[in-house]
Subunit: 196 residues, 2 copies
């Protein structure tokens, strides 16, 4: 980390509930030929949105009837769940960086117009911080660097192994899942501080 | 912390799922006059046990049909849940040290022989470590001291504000809840290290 910077490195925290990204092919299987995702509300990252559409997912042990889809559609379908959710579904979902789904378990996904069973794509997303290039430069942070971030008050934790992701397409935001948010006693809108 | 000790301070981790402690009065309301809790398996703390008996609990939003009772019976009934569980039940359970239940929300509890609605007793238990007096003396740790404990590997976290509880009735064990265990990627049987 750059010695040039002595300012406190505060980062907004976003707590991600379980959600799914769909390929356009799967959007059309689940919602009908020609269907596209429609925006419910924008997310912190430019161009990303929570869709109005939801799907049901079925694991060997349990299911979730209403999983929010995040848009726009992506190259590959990916279900992001907490470790608590993984126990509920009965799926051994590994901790992975988003997009790295080789060798991960699959899941049955049901929409209003059809269903699809994918043979991979279920992950517990590794905690990470999106940095705009300008934030990263100011703080001397490199893409892929692992950081330590203090989050929370009376239930404070230092998250280790927080992956830095740097792009001029990103807005500054730390993404943790609901287990991590609850363990630290924080919600979206709270702030963390990069301590190392 | 004592400067005398340079050995690594390793502590076994126990991840507590949601559970309930019952007063003897409530045991008899829920399981019948004269009923007592029966041991299913012993816990890490001497004399404590998971009971064969379970109860259902009902919050305004959700319920859990089978909550394990931990015995023996106590002075006051207390339901210990994770923050995830609190959202499921629809109850604003505060973070509290076990036994400190003044001003906490109540819950409806149903057993095979009857039901009771308590007006307080639902908490998210504050993480803590039980130290036998000899462990605490060896490591220079005082009762009520707040510690920092590193837990986990690829998903490692440092839990801050970990309360030390020292007694010659205790066995060395760190108690965290399922949110905390999942956020750190650990289960009962893993170890943490006191780092400060």
């Amino acid at each position: 980390m750059s010695a040039a910077s002595s300012e406190s490195k505060k980062v907004p925290v976003g707590v991600s509930a379980r959600h799914i990204h769909l390929s356009q092919e799967h959007v059309e299987i689940l919602f009908g030929a020609g269907a596209t995702l429609t925006e419910f509300k924008p997310l912190s990252q430019p161009g990303q949105f929570a869709a109005n559409e939801t799907v049901a997912v079925y694991g060997p042990k349990g299911s979730f009837p209403k999983v929010r889809i995040l848009g726009p559609s992506r190259k590959a379908t990916q279900l992001e769940i907490s470790r608590t959710d993984a126990f509920s579904l009965g799926i051994q979902a590994p901790l992975r960086e988003s997009g790295n789904i080789e060798g991960t378990p699959g899941i049955r996904i049901v929409g209003p117009a059809g269903e699809v069973t994918v043979d991979k794509g279920v992950i517990v997303a590794a905690r990470h911080i999106h940095f705009h290039t300008s934030d990263a430069e100011r703080w001397g942070i490199m893409d892929k660097q692992l950081l330590k971030v203090l989050v929370g008050g009376v239930r404070g934790v230092v998250f280790e192994q927080v992956l830095a992701r740097v792009s001029d397409q990103f807005a500054l935001d730390m993404h943790i899942d609901t287990d991590e948010g609850n363990a630290a006693g924080v919600s979206t809108g709270n702030f963390g501080e990069i301590v190392e």
